[in-house]
Symmetry: C2
Subunit: 196 residues, 2 copies
């Protein structure tokens, strides 16, 4: 066992080994886990803390939203959120261009930091898996005409991009928690999001 | 955003940056997610796929087991499993020496590979968080007399050790699934585990 472990343990690891097949990131947020869960489970809030999802519009039931993903110009990104309040999991089932096969899945989980870090707040776990459709667009006929970029082209930047977004999430939730503000934002802010 | 991402993205990452505060690993297992979940949710099976947990004995209700953790010689390791069948999460709440504060938490989650990798089987996500008690034993008076090793001393090897154990899990489950064997093992195997 010692030999096996020494063979696996290195001073550095290449990007592709760590972020090639899966993209796991994690972070601590000084905000109660129930609030963090409530915020993450609100699909519209993706327009607030992600880099490129904007203009959430309810597209269908149950809880299927259409965003514009500004990485793809005017590309629509569809998203259905599947949350489990007991396990504190929040999964965003998404896809560019079409809502019928939501294959881009953002797996999130909120863990009470009291349990795992001996302090109040939340640990957020976030994993994406390298679905083969990141390599080839399975529904090219649904793409915006003339677009010469595919979401999967950005896979090598997912670690960095998601890290920036997790930092956004942390700043928003820690600000609201520290100031006793509603975790979902004030009605005015919420309204401006919808019409932005 | 591009500048932020380029600053975060590197050709290699040091061990402590990737596995210092959290230890996330993941893997694909060619076994149906329900079977993988059922196997993981059976606490006694830790004696089968982990490196050092042996001799499971029911210690208390609900579902609190006492193992011997052979990394610590004759050290008892207590474990209560908290599983959620809907979210497919399986958390092992453990501690060396005493069963009253189960602070070593192994956070596992089974994800249907059909959803995230477009093929049958399971993706297993596994994260440990660097609880401060890994750095200092909070209950030294409960330690086996004369033991000069603490579980947290091994934290830098968790990535490697858990990777070997995840490989065990994969081999066991893929063998049983491929041969149509009961995922929990045959009764004879199960009995020999308990009395081993």
């Amino acid at each position: 066992m010692q030999n096996l472990c020494l063979e696996l343990t290195h001073s550095v690891y290449p990007h592709d080994q760590i972020y090639g097949d899966y993209c796991p990131i994690q972070g601590y947020i000084n905000c109660p886990p129930e609030d963090t869960f409530q915020y993450l489970a609100d699909t519209k809030k993706l327009a607030e803390w992600t880099y490129s999802l904007r203009n959430p519009m309810l597209h269908g039931e149950p809880d299927l939203y259409r965003f514009t993903d500004q990485i793809g110009g005017t590309t629509p990104c569809f998203c259905r959120t599947v949350a489990n309040r007991e396990a504190l999991t929040v999964d965003y089932h998404c896809a560019w261009d079409q809502p019928d096969h939501l294959w881009m899945i953002y797996l999130m989980r909120v863990v009470p930091a009291q349990l795992v870090l001996d302090k109040p707040g939340s640990v957020v776990l976030w994993v994406n898996c390298h679905h083969p459709f990141y390599t080839r667009n399975p529904y090219p006929e649904t793409a915006v005409p003339g677009r010469n970029f595919w979401v999967g082209d950005a896979w090598p930047m997912f670690y960095a991009g998601h890290t920036v977004e997790l930092q956004n999430l942390k700043l928003i939730l820690e600000h609201r928690h520290a100031h006793g503000l509603p975790v979902l934002g004030t009605p005015a802010v919420a309204a401006s999001e919808v019409t932005a």
